[in-house]
Subunit: 419 residues, 2 copies
Amino acid sequence: MRLAERIDHANAEVARRLTASRARWVDVRPLRDVVLDLGAYELTHSGPPLLWREMGGAQRGAVIAAVLFEGWASTPSEARGMLDRAEVTLRPNHHAGGVGASTGVGSPTTPVCVLEERGVSDRQGAQSWALLELPGANPGAHDAESLAGRRRWRDGFTPALAKALSAAGGVDVDAVVARALHMGDEMVHRTGAATALTVAALAPTLARAGLGGAELAAGLDALLEGEGFFGALALAAAKLACDGVRSVDDSTVVTAMSRNGARCGVRLAGTGDKWFTATAPTVKGLLLDGYDEDDAGRDLGDSAIAETAGLGAFVLAGAPALHARLGTRSADGLRVTRDMGEVTVARHPRYTLPALEFAGAPVGIDARRVVDTGILPVIGAAIVHREPGRGAIGAGLARVPMGCFTAAIEQFAEDRGIR
Amino acid sequence: MRLAERIDHANAEVARRLTASRARWVDVRPLRDVVLDLGAYELTHSGPPLLWREMGGAQRGAVIAAVLFEGWASTPSEARGMLDRAEVTLRPNHHAGGVGASTGVGSPTTPVCVLEERGVSDRQGAQSWALLELPGANPGAHDAESLAGRRRWRDGFTPALAKALSAAGGVDVDAVVARALHMGDEMVHRTGAATALTVAALAPTLARAGLGGAELAAGLDALLEGEGFFGALALAAAKLACDGVRSVDDSTVVTAMSRNGARCGVRLAGTGDKWFTATAPTVKGLLLDGYDEDDAGRDLGDSAIAETAGLGAFVLAGAPALHARLGTRSADGLRVTRDMGEVTVARHPRYTLPALEFAGAPVGIDARRVVDTGILPVIGAAIVHREPGRGAIGAGLARVPMGCFTAAIEQFAEDRGIR
């Protein structure tokens, strides 16, 4: 079989597996209970690997806050000292089986949502996770009140949530995604419908099991007010789907895209776990009042795993209300989804878009097509302040740089004795 | 002031009041506790007034089922006898301050959702109601199992729901409508997002107040499975808004549209409570397998109060997923909403449509413009079998007949000494 044919076959297999994935949310636990080899003084972060001194301001701020959150240091300068001396080690979430939005910094006691594969036949029970942040919290804030709020979230609410989830027998994330795509969510920056569906699905269980308490009530209020809660589940579901194709020989389909505030990285199924990186893009969009483009750091977050799995900006056609936050118009959303159809290998059979007459979400980015057409994958992104601890200052769209794809395709070709 | 000017002024006042209305869901009670002058053997029904012998099959079936539900008769033929002898009296929901979808038959113990005005300054505390049907139940079914199911709903679930609602301090229906319009609901035939938002909003209260029990749990499950639950709240909210303009002198704006399976009726603000009727239309749409157009009865239900208040088919542009049920396409939805802008006097300031760049819902049908342009108001409708007890067999769109509007405008002119 010629290579081009082998690639087509491999990509079809990747598409089949990506779209066969069905995630179920089964647990909420501290990160260290899920990543069993997590070091006692290890933190995780979004994006491809990078060193402490390479980190942009936003991620640096979140790392310092995490050191304080864990009580490893009692002042920011103590925390910085530990990091400078490499007494705290750093690892990408992606290298620990999970993902985190934005700075995406996880620490041993950070609560994570655990999802389990129920679709792909040879991966039953495989797991992924995503950081479950206190909605609306700025991960870089390390004042006493912010840290106390996050600790209440961790110690009070998340164990109660885990109990409710267990009583409910988990939540079918795949089904919620399919429904919420008909309700204006794109699953990353707009998840209000999916969040409501998920909390509503727990309500009968609370009534049936007699579960309650002030902590659970306050936590559910926070989930509903923030609206962004389901983003964690969507990202973890996307990670689960993509991990099922992390290594499929001869496939040019992308299995991860992620940004760490300095570099943006891409992985292909046919090149395994190697990252192909380029300078992280800047995000074009709407800034909050009082900020300008110079305040923005480079793009960061693992959220582009959503686009890798056909969600996020790839289904922007289904989320017209989001344009008010991104500074775009509904026609832009239709165009982005159509354009992404040009560089993907499949349409999702269950994730459909009513505004495009129920066309499936474009899924499975073919790096060859990106290079051939010059159409760069679009990702939705928060705009995060470049200084530590300042948090999000807007939202918009970014393009994954061409450099990631050309480097990946060159390696892919070289591995196969071409050029 | 010339009449045309007086009309414009009056219509502007109607628009102001219609869009100022903000409904809050405050209670669930038996109909007889809400309609205090309801007779001991009185039933309510959808549409303008009609006699028992004039009713179409679907409504006749629901009336018989209601007589059996109340235990006034023990067999359908006994029930028919009571109705033939006028021992059971009939009144439109609209004449009792409320509304009901489809056959819309209410009996003394039927649970209704009670809504209260919180927006219009001179109507604080004014109430409306809508029948709260067991989701998915066929109102014309009167076998023992169906009646038992509806009685469990009435006696087990709805009191528990009322308690939860009271503990939550009610639900802001206006806010849910505004949010759910950004989530693909049009508020009558698609209310899955609004239903989830409402049930989710109760979840923290259940946890906080320690409310629970198997009945409440099963009822919440039924609300979520049926998805259509919020329709009752949307119709009651629309009724509340429209009742605030039931009598505004010189206004040609429509204050009610409703169908009873025989006739379709329209009221104008400037002609008060008089109905102007024409033969009820037939509904064009998608039929369930095994049915054809001859099986369909004429259009019925109070649901067109939604369109009267700028919801339902008037915001079809925001509900593309509904087209799969109606047999239409997303372009049709955009067109219907745009067309309705041609015959309405205002755009709703809080109910906006992202797919039309956040244009407001077209609200306040001007009967003059309907007559002048020939553009008939579109309403969404279930297609109901013409025989008693067979229930819904599809869904689609209908047009309110021109005869209603010409008759109304003629009366309006005559009242003002014109012609």
